[in-house]
Point group: C2
Chain length 312, copies 2
Amino acid sequence: MASLPSPEEDSQKLKKAFIGLGTDEDAIIEILGHRDVNQRKKIRETYHQLYNETLVDGLAKEISGDFGKAVILWTYDPCERDARLANEALKSKKRGIKHLEIIVEMSCASSPQHLVAVRKAYCALFDSSLEEDILDSVPMPLRKILVGLGTSYRYDKEMVDKDVANLEANRLHEAIETKELAHDDVVYILSTRNFYQLRATFERYKEKHGNPIDEDIMKSGKGDLESLLKMIILCIDSPEKHFAEVVGTAIVGLGTDEDSLTRAIISRAEIDMMKVKSEYLNIYKSNLDDAVIGDTSVEYRKFLVTLLGGKI
Amino acid sequence: MASLPSPEEDSQKLKKAFIGLGTDEDAIIEILGHRDVNQRKKIRETYHQLYNETLVDGLAKEISGDFGKAVILWTYDPCERDARLANEALKSKKRGIKHLEIIVEMSCASSPQHLVAVRKAYCALFDSSLEEDILDSVPMPLRKILVGLGTSYRYDKEMVDKDVANLEANRLHEAIETKELAHDDVVYILSTRNFYQLRATFERYKEKHGNPIDEDIMKSGKGDLESLLKMIILCIDSPEKHFAEVVGTAIVGLGTDEDSLTRAIISRAEIDMMKVKSEYLNIYKSNLDDAVIGDTSVEYRKFLVTLLGGKI
């Protein structure tokens, strides 16, 4: 394997790709698409020193559309990326819960350290905290659940208490039966317990009450609250399945939801993409890479395929 | 001013103070009592490398009682110190709210960064998160308020929205009037707004409704909930006044509450002790240093006076 170019060389090549007639998109993909999170950080720092503008500003002047958005999201530090995505979600006028997925993902499918770093980035980038903006823009009872999740800092080692799993499986069952899905206890369980403990609680729920908990929730109602809880449970129980479904939903059917597709691939490319691909195959009986190729075009396609580890 | 001894020299002197017949308490006070948070960190690291035991373990074998406790709390990293104090508070069988003061202080009288660092330290030291232990050991409705505070990450720049201050002063007034002091809105206001905003809200409350908000709360009831809210408001509004009162309460009357006295002096020695002293003078018409000298003895007294910047 050839040795990696230095951050200086990468920055110079990027600058070269920006200037002159037209932009050399292939060079941008070739460089940034093959650098990991730490390497991209060094390139951002070096580029800024060399050219007195941020790399993101440099990119934003040259590339746009879905390709531009994807490259820029990939270029940000992951905490800044998620803080910006969360802010965009909270400031959008969209209804429903689909656009709030990012907040569930960063609190239920990421490390506690990542979530705290996103909250710090959020305060540094915007004039308010993440939780203030949730309170401002999300109606009750979704608000209560998202504030709980968004302020969580879960214990991050594998620690399961079977008695707690049993007690809390019962408490969740009772809340579903009595249709008190946003009860304080439900919020506390979902937002303070560690992921291993919660998976054990969901497992215990199924053993004891017969159905997976998300199915029982969806049987109890079809509103935003039920869908949000289902999303949360899936993110905690199997992040790879959640992201496979995000990709699937973005691609399947008429038109493509590029924003969701980009978010899923960019957030998981360096975390668990192999698992996401395998879940995708499992659910959709087709190859995630092929599906992405079939539903995207030109540079956007090339860039996503590069992140997926493929050649085009 | 003489140049500061190196961490190696300090560690060697400390080790020397520990060995032989009796312990040289004066040397311990002389060294640790005159080192700031970063210097103590280097001494901890160096001592550990040199002697293959932690400095805290070294101290714990040699000194005990109020003096030992105080020196050890001062030696810990402040995040670890507060995590341990919070854990001790939550595991104690005490009733009421006095022992929960540490949780209010670290969330309402410290920086948001400090609180997050305490939560990280808590997860690293114990088998659960701070918020899980609050849920386990604090009854409703105090639980709800402390979980809100304990999971906060407030925006930390000066940013005040007068409309928000007005609206939320009214909302708090309504909650007091209807005796719904643990309403979600109250918890959200106190646990997500930045300190500057909250001070403006309390100011607006007084302008519009005639009394300081903490007085109105205490008029509405005399239970733990009211006292907790008063403590929170005071910590946010004027940390120096809160800590002056902690010292005052610990000293005044029969017997001394050494744990509270130690906590107050150790937590604020490097933050705002001058302000605490001035508030103390204001409230008790006497000198904080003199009061501490009058109520403590031997090494414990010497150590506290050293931290207060005095000579004895």
